[in-house]
Symmetry: C2
């Protein structure tokens, strides 16, 4: 009898001042979450939890808001090593004259491992537990993810350009599929097919990807309709809009995550809605590269599922979903003229549940619910800058900084405790960033 | 001889990894700033400074960027006690149904003192050394400013509504002028005339203010062209745009700081430029209240001087100029379609030198220059989230959080040291915020 009871005891019991239930948009006060073997096994009033459970770890968060771990629906994690490399430049110049040449010189398996490790550290400290990635050498990214304790969906990248990683679409896919197989038993590492964009992948590549996505039941992660220039050149080359072409090629469906979607007309929006596609909204990146402002309010009205992405650190320059939540909410209000556009709960759902839904992971992550994995983030609401507090969720969106994130768990494992990364050696990360900075800076001096 | 030498010794010598010279947009590496009697007396290479000076305090900031103290060109500091009180609502509803009723019930001298003290603490921690304020009971605000060690320009508020502070325009002005006289010898407390807005002040009030501004040589600080609705009702009542009316009344000139300026047509812009008016750009507040996006790029092209404001904490909800710098830069890029719009140095100048110029204080503050007052802010660039760093100023705008602010000096006095407020009791501030939170919440429950 004592043994049976002990078996039912949680590994961790987390008591919080507030718990955000994003499924129902309600706030639970003075409740606790019980975690066993990486999953949420109970959610109940703290007083009751104290009577019922004698957990291995008891975490008291008396001034904190507990939310689901944030989900970064679009990034190029390894690009953190190019953070702020060439700011204040338009997308085309930025890509063609700075980012692509730097990538051609430096991107290697080691670069991706170091860069992804740096990005994971930054994201974990910001309350992000899962990210949807697209970059070269996904094997190295997987190793960094495994090492840092995060969860990720890694893109099997495919692009019609040779790189130091692969030579052509078929090579990209072959390598990516082998990596996918290698990591298939890691519960925190998932995969998607990631054709870069309609302007960098030809019809035959997309057809191959459509077939693979159906066979392997993988999401498709690609950039769409980011800049006006891109639409014009696509129209000149293919005689139609990228989304029209993707539809014709059978690439649009509930497995499709379109990133950006800045320049979409009524027909494009209707197309996205009809096929149940998801949008990864990257408000900071879209402004910084002068791409524009995505019509999110119109998308939401059509029932399109919208999650939030930071994009890579080279075009943001923060991997910070709290910033993206705030900016998404602010921009929607300012552009629509309606101050109730993307209210606080909606912004939080975009950064959690809607991201999970886009990735096909909504039964496992995205909300604090019994049976789901314990991917959690605690925010300390006690700072002077957050006083007074009339509504914790509104504060979360409009007031909280990533520096208020105090604890983060991924699958029940504490990765950030009292603002300290538990799995990651910060000094060695900083050293590696400094080495890459010097290398990149030297090569730029040679080029310029 | 030793005495003469000792007299020339600085009180404080601040060595920094980088110093931002916003006058020339250049970065000084490994330099030091010498401060004596509240003023900058030397700027020189650190190595030389170590030979030349034996200061009373020597501050080593080996990984830091030293910038001029940030200048918040528009706020209602005491409203920090209403932070997040009624989010996700449009300006009219927000003001008429929430903020004004709460103000009518609660705003008192004590409210303003407690609220301003809280705001000063938040602003100092964020690197803000000077703010341009508009609120009731400026005497209480002055006391809070004096106590916390900040610098402020306090508005002699005037509005055609009675409040718990004053009964009519004449009463507002009489009280304000007496307060101005009372504080005239405090070097850190300055005053402006602050008619609330064209839609809340009649012609006779504006005429009186024009005369006073000329007599007393004070800036005029007022809201202009914030919402479309406000323009329409003004046009219905006065048959013209607010700026047209202000021009006719003689209110426009180089002493005028117009706040918001969201909805301004070509004639309005030309009017602002012709009269040498300044704009306090409040990008977060303008989005949050769904007012819109001010045409800053067009203003800059016309040579209009633009500074940055947080607005009050009830419509932001952060008093954080680093956020406003980032958002001003991002919005300008996204809206203009030019990624080089408001580059990093320009954003920093808006938050420092341009703010000082608007306030008529550019000979005293706004840049790190020999002879100016030592209002300074140091940012620690060493955090993981800021690695790598190719350009410190770009990082300042796109990457840095207010939590990276490590030291702040106002007139040579260290108000923030290693992220700790030196002059302010944080626990007592939190207690007072909690008391007001409970009072405001109770009164709202009674109303609703």
């Amino acid at each position: 009898m004592p043994e049976a009871h002990a078996l039912r005891q949680p590994d961790t019991l987390i008591h919080a001042r507030w718990i955000a239930d994003v499924d129902t948009c309600t706030l639970l006060a003075q409740h606790a979450v019980a975690v066993r073997a990486g999953r949420i096994v109970d959610i109940l009033p703290s007083a009751l939890a104290r009577e019922r459970y004698t957990p291995h770890d008891n975490v008291e968060l008396g001034t904190h808001l507990l939310i689901p771990g944030l989900i970064n629906l679009h990034t190029h994690a390894a690009m953190s090593l190019m953070r702020g490399l060439a700011d204040d430049l338009p997308l085309k110049t930025w890509l063609e004259q700075h980012i692509w040449p730097a990538e051609a010189t430096h991107v290697s398996s080691q670069f991706v491992r170091d860069g992804t490790r740096l990005a994971c550290a930054e994201m974990l400290k910001s309350g992000i537990t899962c990210f949807n990635d697209m970059y070269f050498f996904p094997d190295a990214a997987a190793a960094a993810v495994a090492e840092t304790g995060m969860r990720a969906v890694l893109g099997i990248i495919a692009i019609d350009f040779p790189s130091r990683y692969a030579s052509d679409i078929e090579d990209y896919l072959t390598k990516g599929l082998a990596i996918c197989e290698r990591w298939q038993h890691d519960p925190r590492i998932h995969f998607s097919l990631a054709p870069h964009a309609p302007y960098t992948v030809g019809d035959s590549g997309f057809e191959r990807i459509r077939t693979l996505a159906a066979q392997l039941e993988l999401p498709i992660h690609l950039h769409i309709h980011e800049t006006r220039e891109e639409l014009e050149s696509h129209r000149a080359r293919y005689g139609c809009s990228p989304l029209y072409r993707l539809e014709r090629l059978g690439l649009l469906g509930p497995q499709t995550i379109g990133v950006h979607g800045v320049h979409v007309d009524a027909a494009d929006l209707e197309r996205l809605a009809r096929h149940g596609c998801h949008i990864a909204h990257c408000p900071t990146s879209n402004l910084k590269l002068a791409s524009g402002i995505a019509p999110i309010t119109a998308m939401l009205e059509l029932g399109i599922n919208v999650g939030l992405g930071s994009d890579g650190a080279a075009s943001n320059n923060r991997l910070d979903l709290l910033q993206e939540m705030r900016l998404a909410s602010l921009l929607a209000k300012g552009v629509s003229g309606h101050a109730d556009s993307i209210p606080a709960w909606e912004a939080l759902r975009m950064a959690t549940l809607h991201g999970a839904k886009a990735l096909g992971l909504e039964t496992e992550i995205g909300s604090i619910r019994i049976g789901k994995l314990a991917d959690l983030c605690a925010i300390d609401m006690e700072r002077l800058e957050l006083a007074p507090c009339f509504d914790p969720i509104s504060h979360l969106v409009h007031c909280v900084s990533r520096d208020d994130v105090s604890h983060v768990w991924v699958e029940g494992k504490c990765c950030v405790s009292d603002r300290i990364l538990t799995q990651i050696d910060v000094a060695s990360l900083k050293n590696s960033a400094r080495l890459w900075q010097n290398r990149i800076r030297s090569s730029l001096k040679i080029v310029s």
